[in-house]
């Protein structure tokens, strides 16, 4: 009897042990497959990256030797494309925690420069001596990056280095650990850092967003109490349970206070510049219950709000309704010229028409006393430069930021082509087409479409 039980037990246990073993083996296999898959994705991005940097270096070299304008432009466009591809490949590698942003900035600056020169009419405006020298130095710099990346690539191939280890090292916070790949990328970064100090002057300004600088705003520095009062004035919150005013951290480019006011329905948050006490943004987080007023009434409330707070010459530019909230964009209108960089956005709750959001970030960054130059060409002349298929519906003068982020005076035309509406900006000095923007139509709600089909 005992023997029988013992045998059964042994049998059951053996089956269990074998079963666990098989299961564990399968799990292990699956895990390995997934790891290899992830590793391969990293490897692919890495080798693609080095390949593209190789190509990039060669292409910059080719442009140096080129003379004919007709071949130069396509080659510069190719450089631009390669930087963009390389940029996206860097984004696929687990480099987030390694300082590698200088290299990425370097890539995108090469991209910006080659793009700007590629779209330029090089017949009329050939490369200047400075630009040529810049290309020359870009060529040398890209050679160094190429060399270092190749070195990392060689070591990675030779020693079977895995990107998964890089990821693990970074995730565990041991990025200082001895890891060839990490070290290699750090060296690349150091090399690039070296050039940016001896930067090549003004031509190499990138197209990135200009940093907002509110330090030059007129006015006296305000205190925390004053900041709180401004916030109350802006929101008309009377009953507040708890208020808090905090100063900005050390890393900010400009000085500001963050005010928060808890009230019965929610919370108001607002940032105010220390100098002059200007509102940067405001969000009143509360539930909006239904829509009782129209978008049109709400836009009137928004423009009253601006007037009462001494924002002069603001004109409604865009409006959109999202559920029970109206969002409005206002821009300065100076003697019938729209100044698009000076934009303020306002969010109005459609239940009671109160202002629940405000942002003047762009406005404060660009607001200044302006002399609008007289346009050098007439509207009629500008109109001739528009695609003849576009039917022009509206026109006016406007100041915009062009693709190189410079402010230019333009004629703005609102035109229709087939079923789409476009904003077209023609430079009022040169007659160049500065920008064409296709305006979005409302998007169908896909859930409905899918549901309809289900």
């Amino acid at each position: 009897m005992h023997i029988l039980i013992r045998n059964i037990l042994i049998g059951v246990l053996t089956v269990l042990v074998i079963g666990t073993g098989v299961w564990a083996y399968q799990e292990h296999q699956e895990k390995n497959a997934i790891l290899i898959n992830a590793e391969n994705n990293y490897q692919r991005a890495f080798h693609d990256l080095t390949y593209n940097i190789d190509l990039l270096h060669d292409k910059i070299g080719t442009t140096l030797a080129m003379n004919s304008r007709t071949s130069l432009s396509p080659e510069l466009a190719e450089v631009w494309r390669l930087t963009s591809v390389a940029h996206s490949q860097v984004g696929q590698l687990p480099l987030t925690l390694i300082p590698f942003n200088k290299t990425e900035e370097f890539l995108s600056k090469i991209g910006d420069f080659s793009y700007k020169t590629a779209i330029r009419d090089l017949e009329k405006e050939p490369l200047t001596e400075d630009e040529y020298n810049l290309l020359q130095s870009l060529y040398e710099q890209s050679a160094e990056i190429q060399n270092e990346l190749r070195e990392v690539q060689y070591l990675a191939l030779k020693n079977n280095l895995r990107w998964m280890d890089v990821e693990l090292a970074l995730a565990s916070g041991k990025e200082s650990a001895d890891n060839t790949i990490i070290d290699g990328f750090k060296t690349v970064e150091k090399t690039v850092e070296g050039y940016s100090e001896t930067d090549t002057g003004t031509i190499f300004t990138s197209m990135e967003k200009k940093e907002a600088n509110y330090n030059d705003l007129p006015g006296e520095e305000i205190s925390k109490e004053e900041a709180l009062n401004i916030a109350k004035k802006y929101t008309k919150v009377t009953s507040s349970n708890k208020t808090k005013v905090e100063s900005n951290g050390k890393g900010s480019d400009y000085e500001f206070y963050s005010v928060s006011i808890l009230h019965d329905d929610g919370e108001v948050n607002m940032d105010i510049t220390k100098k002059g006490g200007y509102p940067i943004w405001l969000i009143n987080d509360r539930e909006v219950k239904g829509a009782n007023i129209s978008l049109n009434e709400a836009s009137i409330k928004a423009s009253q709000f601006l007037k009462e707070r001494n924002f002069k010459n603001m004109e409604l530019f865009e409006s959109a309704q999202y559920d029970h909230i109206g969002v409005f964009t206002f821009v300065t209108n100076l003697n019938h010229v729209r100044i698009y960089p000076e934009a303020i956005k306002i969010k109005v709750a459609l239940d009671d028409g109160s202002i629940i959001g405000f942002t003047a970030e762009e406005y404060l960054g660009t607001k200044k006393i302006r002399e609008i130059p007289k346009p050098k060409i007439t509207e009629e002349e500008a109109r001739k430069n528009i695609n003849s298929k576009v039917k022009v519906m509206e026109s006016r003068l406007a100041v915009i930021n062009n693709r190189s982020k410079e402010e230019v005076l333009t004629y703005e035309f609102l035109g229709v082509l087939n079923n789409d509406t476009y904003r077209i900006y023609i430079n009022a000095e040169t007659g160049n087409e500065e920008q064409v923007i296709k305006l979005h139509n409302a998007e169908p709600i896909y859930e409905d479409i899918i549901e309809g089909k289900a």
């Binding site: 996206s88 984004g91 590698l93 995730a171 951290g249 009782n292 049109n296 079923n419 998007e443 896909y446």
Partner: protein, 286 residues
């Protein structure tokens, strides 16, 4: 026998009552009092589009969103009828429109609800202007009100079939960002969520980061919610609204491109970034 008679009588009165009520609705429901302007959504816009289409000014889809197509149609109407051309549907314009056109409200709303393709041109029998969505035989009645938790303005309110999206972003981009924001910051205040969305957008503009929403979100190691799969939780309405605010230009972070939770951050490097401010549990930095 008697019972049968009563039932019949009851039915007839019932039907009469409904007919009267129905025609009454048709009459009074010609627009609410609002001035309709570009960007608006809802019942009035559906009526506006239907009436403009009836007269042949509007050839787009009747979707309940006052977009550019509707705007030009309205202006053409105002031009043809000698009204002030301002692209706003005010009292005069609406009165003129109501006088000049017909609006088959039940037809339009029925077809919108069923997801049929239809038009509303005058001069032809409207019943020939429907392309029935064959697969939609089992119609869903649940999607009546615009969003959960809020009361529609009137009981006849129909859901619009389109929606406003900020230029440059699709609903799917917004959804993906809402997923990221929800996974990363669902415990944070509303402003804290707008801030996380704003960081994603600041990264789009920054040369050190990828140039697409998906590129930024899925950059290896960039967001913990992506690494541990929390991004695939279903986001709530708050996260979506926070994303919309951020896209519309609200940036509570002062141009931050990094943020971290000081209690859980493992990397020493992140502490070396210049810090701008703290919102809730997150420190935002350059």
């Amino acid at each position: 026998m008697k019972v049968k008679k009563w039932v019949l009588l009851f039915l007839i009165t019932g039907i009469c009552f409904f007919l009267i009520r129905d025609s009454e609705i048709q009459r009074v429901s010609a627009f609410s009092n609002q001035v309709i302007q570009i960007g608006a959504t809802g019942d009035d816009v559906i009526e506006l589009q239907s009436r403009l289409q009836y007269l042949g000014f509007y050839n787009g889809k009747i979707d309940g969103v006052f977009g550019w197509g509707t705007y030009w149609a309205l202006r053409n109407f105002q031009y043809e009828f000698g009204l002030k051309i301002d692209g706003l549907a005010g009292p005069t314009t609406k009165a003129k429109l109501v006088k000049a056109s017909k609006y088959h409200e039940s037809f339009v709303k029925e077809n919108i609800r069923k997801g049929n393709k239809f038009t509303h041109y005058g001069g032809t029998d409207i019943n020939t202007q429907v392309k029935t969505n064959k697969k939609a035989t089992t119609q869903k009645q649940t999607t009546q009100s615009q969003s959960q938790g809020t009361q529609p303005k009137t009981t006849t309110s129909t859901k619009t079939t389109a929606t406003n999206v900020p230029n440059g972003f699709s609903q799917n981009d917004i959804q993906l960002m809402a997923n990221a924001v929800y996974g990363e910051a669902r415990g944070e205040s509303y402003v804290g969520q707008v801030a996380v969305a704003a960081v994603i957008l600041n990264r789009l503009d920054s040369p050190s980061f990828p140039n697409t929403v998906s590129g930024v979100i899925f950059e290896p190691g960039a967001f913990t919610a992506v690494a541990d799969g929390q991004i695939w939780l279903t986001p709530n309405e708050t996260a979506r609204k926070a994303v919309l605010d951020a896209i519309n230009g609200w940036d509570p972070t002062g141009n931050a491109i990094y943020y971290f939770n000081p209690d859980t951050a493992t990397s020493a490097w992140i502490w070396s970034r210049p810090q701008i401010k703290r919102i809730g549990k997150h420190i935002f930095c350059k």
